[in-house]
Amino acid sequence: MKRPLLSCVMLNPKQVLEFNLPQWDLLIRQARTANVLASLAELLDANALEIPERARLHLKSAQIHADRFNIALAFEITCIEKALKDIPMALVLLKGSAYFMAGNNAAKGRVFSDVDILVPEQQLMAVEMALTNAGWMTNTLDPYDQKYYRLWMHEIPPLRHLKRQTSIDVHHNILPKTTCICPDANKLLLGAIKVPESNCWVLAPEDRVLHSATHLFHEGEFSQGFRDLRDLDHLLREFATSDDFWPKLLLRAIELQQQIPLFYALRYSHQILQTPIPESVLEASKQRINTTLMDALFLRALLPDHDSCNDKWTRLARSLLFIRSHYLKMPIYLMVPHLLRKTYRRVIGKELH
């Protein structure tokens, strides 16, 4: 498949100097759709590249958005800290907010909707109570949705703050309980590291990569797939500077039984974004998997979800991966009724997606 303009620029930003206006137009569109417009702006800024005025305004606009988002995010995290300060546990941030607090490159220009935290399962009730007392409220009162989350998922239903309208996802694990290879969350919590000069914790570097991988390669919706793959690329490039990172990562994947997601993560970030990964690591991460099929699916689904990046198989690939994600997350006797119910509610217009 042809490499999208956006990935080409991410690999070699200087080529924009040769771009004509329609190419700039397409680049901005792909980046906006993939939700990486502000990150693209940071990248072009870092390379001090000249940008035509119209394109520059769109990039700048997205940056303004991202800057404001970071201020709001810092405030939100303080509010969460305050709400949970009496519970005897470390406040472990996940994904976007973790990259932000840890100062990872992946956080540059990254805009997202929810703060994710990981708490010990036995503290789940206390955490929910404390957040509710501080003004967060459950997003859904639908009894089925409540049951779905509490019985099968790795998180409670998302909570939304009544005044600020911000959202928090409280996790007690990184994969649903119903997944066949659900890791031991205590291992993740034990490995967490404290962010200097704050009260927040983040997962260890290897675990941050594994969580990102696990999340992306169990995902059913790929509208943010390219962005998530870029997170992985950023994390890997950043952590690879420490000597023992690769062996630690491989070992940890075995310990947490996440070899398959790691295999995909390394394979596709290497193929799509040319992440520098030692040949020996790629070799060691290999799994017995039909790569012809999975390549056909992931090499399509992980591109920006924009018309210009799709071919005639992209829709099918995304649909198959959607089914795959449910198959991975739930045994078939749970999945079939669940999907039937979702479809029915979508048809009668009670749900939008």
Partner: protein, 307 residues
């Protein structure tokens, strides 16, 4: 000077326009480049009547907003048909009834600008110009700002926008987006009666905003669509039935707070938003304006424009 006429939408016949919109019509809306793709005939009529003066883009330009309007491709096409608005494949709104297609196009374009053009502090306000002075008229729906704006424009004032004032955070000037003026309910008849020559698009009943009609901006305003102007007056209008025409000075501090509440992206712009808005309030004379009689209002505004 070159004698080549700049080609605008009016230079296309209706059937040429229809062909063009099916494939993608590139045109200027103020400082923005828009591409519209749609099979919807009502939209062709809308553009034919109300966007005639808008310049067509030369090939190979950068497009700010790739807009598409289409019907969902389901059985709904035959039963209570609907229309969807997309910005480059993304649908920010739920579909509306098919007859509201042109209104949806206007609202959608407002959304595009309001949510992507952070080079401006965007005030929910009509803005018109006379004698090189821009008058900014912020107001919530029902304040009569659009009616006042339409009446002024019919008297020869230049329209910059009836809906959003784009204050550049870079140079402090107001940038125009001259587009059809959206009038609601009784305002439509008021303006039609005063200026029988004014051109209206399709009048649509039963929208979320009631009956809506779009009225064609003056050709000259559209042609000056890329010329910014400095603001001189910030006037908060309030229409109230039977009210006396009354203009009262508003303190700068109050004006600042009120205008901040009328901005779309004041919080988003942070310090820059505050700086831009306080700069604006500094340079403007600020008033509160109550009225019910449009003729008196017009006389008063004309006087103000000479000050």
């Amino acid at each position: 000077m070159s004698n080549l006429p700049i080609s605008n939408i009016a230079s296309l016949s209706k059937s040429q326009l229809q062909q063009a919109i099916i494939k993608g019509l590139d045109f200027k809306v103020g400082c923005f480049n828009v591409r519209l793709v749609s099979p919807i005939v009502e939209l062709v009529t809308h553009l034919h009547h109300l966007y005639g003066a808008n310049e067509l883009l030369a090939k190979e330009d950068f497009i700010d907003f790739h807009v598409q309007l289409s019907s969902p491709s389901t059985l709904r096409r035959y039963f209570r048909p609907q229309v969807n608005f997309f910005l480059d494949g993304y649908a920010p709104f739920k579909p509306l009834p098919y007859v509201q297609a042109s209104a949806l196009f206007e609202w959608g374009l407002n959304w595009c600008i309001a949510s992507h053009a952070n080079q401006y502090l965007i005030i929910h306000a009509a803005v018109v110009e006379r004698n090189g002075q821009a008058f900014i008229l912020p107001g919530t729906p029902g304040s009569g700002k659009s009616t006042l704006c339409a009446a002024l424009v019919n008297q020869g004032w230049r329209l910059l926008s009836d809906e959003m004032t784009l204050l550049s955070t870079h140079d402090g000037q107001i940038y125009p987006v001259p587009r059809p003026i959206s009038l609601k309910n009784q305002s439509i008849d008021v303006i039609k009666k005063r200026s029988p020559q004014s051109v209206f698009g399709q009048i649509v009943n039963d929208t979320v905003k009631g009956t809506v009609g779009h009225f064609c901006p003056p050709e000259l305003s559209v042609q000056l669509g890329e010329n910014p102007v400095f603001a001189a007056k910030l006037i908060f209008p309030k229409y109230k039935q039977g009210a006396e025409t009354e203009l009262s000075t508003l303190s700068k501090s109050k004006a600042l707070l009120r205008a901040a509440g009328d901005c779309f992206n004041y919080n988003l712009l942070g310090v820059q938003g505050f700086d831009s808005l306080s700069g604006l309030v500094e340079q403007c004379a600020c008033y509160e304006f109550h009225y019910s009689n449009l003729d008196e209002a017009l006389i008063l505004f004309t006087e103000l424009s000479h000050q």
